[in-house]
């Protein structure tokens, strides 16, 4: 890690985003907004989205590319959340139970997802995109037909099928956000939330220190070498993909408790792209990713999102935020694909 930071090079995307961010902060200052409140919110936003971004790392490092099939893991997490709400488990215990439920489901989903991706080696990114696209409509049937009993989850009229937005207010909304708050002046630091984030980071760091984790990086870097060294490449990739899926499930649990709602149906589809652009903004090449890159990228991207809304509302047309948001999210992915291709050609 120390070595990595020493060699860390700031690249074009970070420069663009950072300039943009500085401009926004200046604007916010001029417009007399409460910077402390904004900073506070930016910290929550970091963790809220950060775990989804971290979930990309194992797959990228295993050479399975950027996980455009993120919805698979997200759906696993959503099922876990729904189960916890269905059994009316509240508070921190409810949140932990939702993590456990989603762990079990994601292990299974990740296993199937991994088996499919091992069949399409080299084209995982496009395959993942379409696995996500085709999995969503299938799950839409599931959400409408699943026999959950908790009335708070069901459509109020008719009493069948889950609502698109299930409130967590009576269960565990903000349970992590509000855990162990530390007051520094007017700044509130959500220590509990950060502790959880830190745990996931440490877990990923430790994973790459283990034998299988080190094998994962080797497979991602040079498959022929790994084969000659006697590694079972399919198995190692499968493990990395399952871990990515499980972390994605945890990611959506944390996201939902911050947001206060479980969002079902087509919602997971829109979550893969911002996560991928975040890790790219952090400086990843899409072939290798570090925890530091995921954290930095998430913070830059989410803070930018956060600042554009109030500022645009204040001085410009509000629609502009959404336009900028989408443009930056997709533009960065395109940029990364361009860069990646150029690097590939050099060899």
């Amino acid at each position: 890690m120390k070595n990595y930071l020493k060699n860390y090079k700031i690249q074009t995307p970070q420069i663009i985003i950072s300039f943009f961010l500085i401009a926004l902060i200046c604007l916010a200052f001029i417009l007399d907004m409460d910077l402390v409140v904004l900073l506070n919110e930016s910290l929550i936003k970091l963790v809220m989205n950060g775990i989804l971004v971290l979930s990309l790392i194992p797959m990228i490092n295993a050479g399975a590319g950027m996980n455009f099939g993120l919805p698979v893991g997200i759906i696993g997490g959503l099922i876990g959340l729904c189960l916890a709400v269905n059994f009316r488990i509240t508070g921190l215990f409810g949140f932990v139970m939702s993590l456990l439920f989603s762990l079990v489901i994601c292990l299974f989903l990740g296993w199937i997802y991994g088996l499919i991706l091992n069949k399409v080696k080299g084209r995982e990114e496009i395959a993942g995109t379409f696995i996500g696209f085709s999995f969503i409509p299938l799950m839409n049937y599931f959400w409408t037909l699943v026999p959950f009993q908790n009335r708070e989850m069901l459509y109020p009229i008719g009493g069948q099928g889950l609502r698109p937005k299930i409130s967590l207010e009576n269960y565990f909304s903000n349970v992590l956000d509000d855990m162990w708050l530390l007051q520094v002046g007017s700044l509130e630091i959500p220590v509990g939330l950060f502790a959880f984030y830190g745990l996931v980071c440490i877990f990923i760091y430790l994973f790459f220190q283990t034998k299988v984790g080190r094998a994962t990086i080797a497979v991602g870097e040079n498959e022929a070498f790994s084969k000659l060294s006697g590694l079972d490449i399919s198995r190692i990739r499968l493990i990395a993909i399952i871990i990515s899926t499980v972390i994605a499930g945890f990611g959506i649990c944390v996201y939902s408790q911050s947001y206060g709602f479980i969002q079902l149906y087509d919602e997971p589809l829109s979550m893969a792209f911002p996560a991928i652009s975040a890790v790219l903004i952090g400086g990843s090449t899409g072939k290798k990713a570090y925890i530091f890159e995921a954290v930095l990228g998430t913070y830059l991207l989410q803070t930018m999102y956060l600042l554009t809304i109030p500022i645009a509302n204040e001085i410009l047309i509000p629609e502009l935020t959404e336009i900028l948001r989408t443009f930056i999210t997709y533009g960065i992915i395109l940029y990364a694909l361009l860069i990646k291709d150029r690097r590939g050609n050099k060899q």
Partner: protein, 523 residues
């Protein structure tokens, strides 16, 4: 004669480490100019500068001036160099694996249909594939090669790839200066000699050639002038006929090289491995119907002309290519040809394609050395129960690696240096260190000294002898360097068309080997 190329006060450093310092060099028209030097002496850097490789620009360009045909130039890209009439044959291949041999040779100057030329312009015109292939085949015939040019590059063996790469440059009409980085390194002696004849003919036609080689005899034979590099500096320059090989070797290393040699002995014992009707389907290097018995504790040389199967044997054991036939290893039949199973049983392969198969370039020296030992045999691991979650015992591994770096004199800043920053010879030492870590009973070394300078070469050969003598490791060396095989092997098997043709003693004469290599029985 006029100078075609003049280099004045050229310096280049990679992030603070000087690779070239203050080089002054002039190349005449129609001259074959040899450049020799140990690995890491800056030869390849000079070539990269002259050919405008992107590595140079990315690492901050160079200092000094270069004049080409009297004009000052600053080459920023390979296409610029090509336009000026500079061609280069790379040490590591620069061919497109998904395209056929013919397409690679004619790349960038394809024949097109006249009609479509006029219709869409030259750039968007249709390619006349048939004529391209004919041209390509003609160029290859000039190199005495008969190859189906419609085979894709990825299916060819390294030796043939080298010829394709040469053919691509030789086929150019506007070529004025040709840079050859170790062109004969992957060729056997006979093919090398043929190539030399062709080069001399081209030089007589007015082409200037910069010739980098580790084979000093060749340099002595064909170069009009020779320049010696050492540690990025120009140390000496000789005219043809005014130097001996020992001069060059001395200048390169700074001191004289003692050649590795193993004492002669008779090995008879029990066989460690015997092959019966063994096949390996490696494209371009196929083994067919091979029968061979190797005794425990011997060093067996395996040699053949390019394409006759010497490289495939080890890869067959590691499951890289499909195999057929029976193999008995330590009196047991091997049923599964798979890397993991065989590594555990004590078989390991040093691959010839170092960059592609032999190393994790982005990883450190330490990780490269301990990787298979740690992954397959759980060496250097600190366990908490479940094996796949083992961490590395950094203390143990670091001291092991430091010992090896010291023993093998691997030139590096620390065990944590990335392998891609090392020179070819040092990379090979890392590979051997890795093999040694596994303590194999049977080691396949494929072209262990390819692309390695003399000093490192002898060191590597000595390492192999030492492993054999101290650990009683049986070693099978597949190499086209007959001279080296004769010095260290107990027996040398000559392969022809994928079979063992004859097993000779290392004391046999060159004539006997020559006959055997070409499949002649002799008298």
């Amino acid at each position: 004669m006029k100078n075609i190329l003049e280099i004045k006060k050229l310096s280049k450093s990679y992030s603070g480490n000087p690779a070239l310092t203050n080089i002054n060099l002039a190349i005449k028209e129609g001259e074959i100019h040899g450049i020799v030097g140990a690995n890491g002496s800056g030869k390849s850097t000079l070539m990269n500068i002259l050919f405008g490789s992107p590595v140079i620009q990315e690492t901050g360009g160079y200092e000094g001036e270069i004049f080409f045909q009297g004009k000052k130039i600053n080459i920023k890209s390979c296409s610029e160099a090509i336009r000026m009439g500079i061609g280069m044959v790379h040490q590591e291949f620069a061919l497109i694996p998904d395209m056929t041999a013919g397409e690679n040779i004619k790349l960038g100057r394809e024949r097109t249909y006249k009609f479509t030329d006029r219709l869409f312009g030259r750039r968007y015109s249709f390619i006349n594939k048939k004529q391209d292939y004919e041209d390509a085949a003609k160029i290859l015939r000039k190199l005495n090669m008969n190859l189906d040019v419609s085979i894709k590059i990825m299916n060819l063996s390294t030796n043939i790839k080298q010829f394709i790469e040469l053919a691509r440059e030789i086929g150019r009409q506007d070529l004025k200066l040709l840079l050859l980085d170790e062109p004969t390194a992957v060729l056997n002696k006979k093919d090398g000699l043929e190539l030399i004849n062709i080069l001399q003919e081209m030089a007589r036609g007015g082409l200037s050639i910069i010739f980098i080689s580790h084979r000093l005899e060749e340099v002595q034979q064909i170069c009009d002038r020779v320049t010696v590099f050492r540690d990025g500096k120009l140390v000496s320059q000789y005219q043809k006929g005014k130097f001996s090989i020992n001069n060059l070797a001395g200048d390169m290393i700074g001191h004289l090289v003692s050649k590795a040699a193993a004492e002669k002995r008779e090995i008879k014992g029990r066989p460690i491995i015997s092959l019966k009707r063994f096949h390996v389907k490696m494209p371009g290097e196929e083994i067919k119907d091979m029968d061979l018995t190797v005794f425990k504790g011997e060093i067996l040389g395996l040699t053949s002309l390019s394409g006759h199967g010497k490289l495939a044997l080890g890869y067959g054991f590691m499951g890289l290519y499909p195999v057929e036939g029976e193999v008995f290893y330590e009196n047991q039949k091997l049923t599964k040809m798979e890397a993991k199973t065989n590594i555990i049983k004590g078989i390991y392969v040093l691959p010839d394609d170092r960059q592609g198969l032999g190393l994790l370039l982005e990883h450190t020296i330490e990780e490269n050395i301990i990787f298979p030992g740690n992954q397959i045999k759980n060496m250097f691991s600190r366990s908490f129960g479940l094996k796949i979650l083992d961490f590395i015992d950094r203390k143990k591994s670091l001291s092991h690696v430091q010992n090896l770096i010291h023993d093998f004199q691997i030139k590096c800043t620390s065990p944590k240096q990335k392998v891609k920053e090392l020179s070819g010879g040092n990379q090979q030492k890392v590979c051997i260190a890795r093999a040694l870590t596994l303590k194999p009973k049977l080691l396949f070394a494929t072209e262990p000294t390819r692309g390695v300078d003399i000093a490192a070469k002898e060191k590597i050969l000595n390492m192999l002898i030492e492993i054999n003598r101290t650990q009683n490791t049986t070693i099978i060396i597949a190499s086209s360097e007959l001279d080296e095989l004769k010095r260290i092997c107990d027996r040398i098997a000559v392969m022809v068309e994928g079979k063992v043709f004859k097993i000779l003693s290392p004391d046999s004469s060159d004539l006997e080997f020559g006959l055997a290599l070409s499949g002649e029985e002799g008298t």
